[in-house]
């Protein structure tokens, strides 16, 4: 997608399902790729019996990686200048997450056009699991 500043306005948004019923297997995939092998994320026996949680908990950075998928689908590849946010609630196996980016600011600096997005991700109960923001360079 080629996002053009001239076709955007404050309030324009993009939203997509970034995971449909998160599997423990995907959490293990993320552990293996990222290198974060904390058993709280991958070891149900440990998470339940030792740590006292209902099940394993998804890595916060898995949620953020899935939000990044939405953001780069929205603004394009290699366009981000800033991306960040806070983890608001645990994400569990079986959760379905919808991520949304909304244009909150558009400006030019020199010959470049920038967009600022407010980011959020909610689970199947519409409860927020992540909130953040991003800035990207887009076409004029």
């Amino acid at each position: 997608m080629l996002l053009k500043a001239s076709e955007l306005h404050v309030g324009y948004f993009h939203e997509q399902i970034v995971v449909d019923r998160l599997t423990r297997t995907q959490m293990v995939q993320y552990a293996g790729a990222s290198g974060d092998y904390n058993p709280l994320h991958t070891d149900e026996v440990y998470a339940v019996q030792m740590a006292g949680y209902p099940s394993v908990i998804a890595h916060g950075m898995l949620t953020m990686g899935m939000v990044a998928h939405m953001v780069t689908d929205f603004v394009g590849d290699g366009r981000l200048t800033e991306f960040g946010g806070r983890f608001l609630r645990p994400v569990w196996p079986g959760d379905t997450l919808s991520a949304r980016g909304e244009v909150v600011n558009l400006w030019r600096f020199g010959d470049k056009s920038f967009v600022e997005l407010a980011l959020s991700a909610v689970n199947q109960d519409d409860a927020a699991v992540f909130a953040g923001r991003a800035e990207a360079i887009i076409d004029g």
Binding site: Q26, A33, G35, P39, V45, Y46, G52, G65, T72, F87
Partner: protein
């Protein structure tokens, strides 16, 4: 400083793990014909530099105790005084990732090498909603390229709770 080789296969596995099928992360032919011209890493990929940190605490190491389950739910719990400091424990609450922020000066390209250096930020405390003290610790990591230019700066905020967070 951690030397972090940006490997194409690693990028492919990372992109798969976050469920992103974008071929810019895996297909050199597609990437070559794109505006960018190269396979690049997804925005949060630098988190995987942990793989190349010899002292990373959340990876089992041969010959050292680990908290994951074995024949018991607690694995090497009886030797807990030696185990990873950041691993969650019921007696001291839980360490969790509270915030993560990145500043990108450019995107990262498969085949290059980055050099990561971490520096401390600030530490602060506040009372949790359900009682107990939350302790926040901020860490900055600069990812420089071979020429010494910063490609990405990451700011991570961790929180240690005095009780587990399942009900939050």
């Amino acid at each position: 400083m951690i030397e972090f080789p940006i490997e194409r296969g690693h990028i492919m596995m990372f992109a798969r793990s976050v469920g992103d099928p974008n071929p810019i992360y895996s297909d050199p032919q597609y990437a070559k014909l794109s505006d960018i011209g190269h396979v690049i890493a997804p925005p949060t990929f630098v988190q995987a530099s942990a793989q190349f940190d010899p002292h990373y605490s959340l990876r089992p190491r041969l010959g050292e105790p680990w908290v994951g389950s074995t024949v018991t739910s607690s694995g090497d719990v009886d030797r807990r005084s030696n185990v990873v400091d950041d691993a969650p424990r019921t007696d001291k609450g839980t360490s969790l990732h509270a915030e993560q922020h990145y500043v990108f000066n450019r995107h990262v390209v498969a085949g290059e090498t980055l050099f990561a250096t971490a520096r401390p930020g600030t530490t602060w405390q506040r009372e949790g909603r359900r009682g107990g003290t939350l302790t926040f610790t901020e860490t900055y990591t600069d990812y420089r390229d071979a020429s010494g230019e910063i490609a990405i700066t990451a700011r991570s905020v961790g929180v240690r709770t005095s009780q587990n967070v399942a009900g939050e």
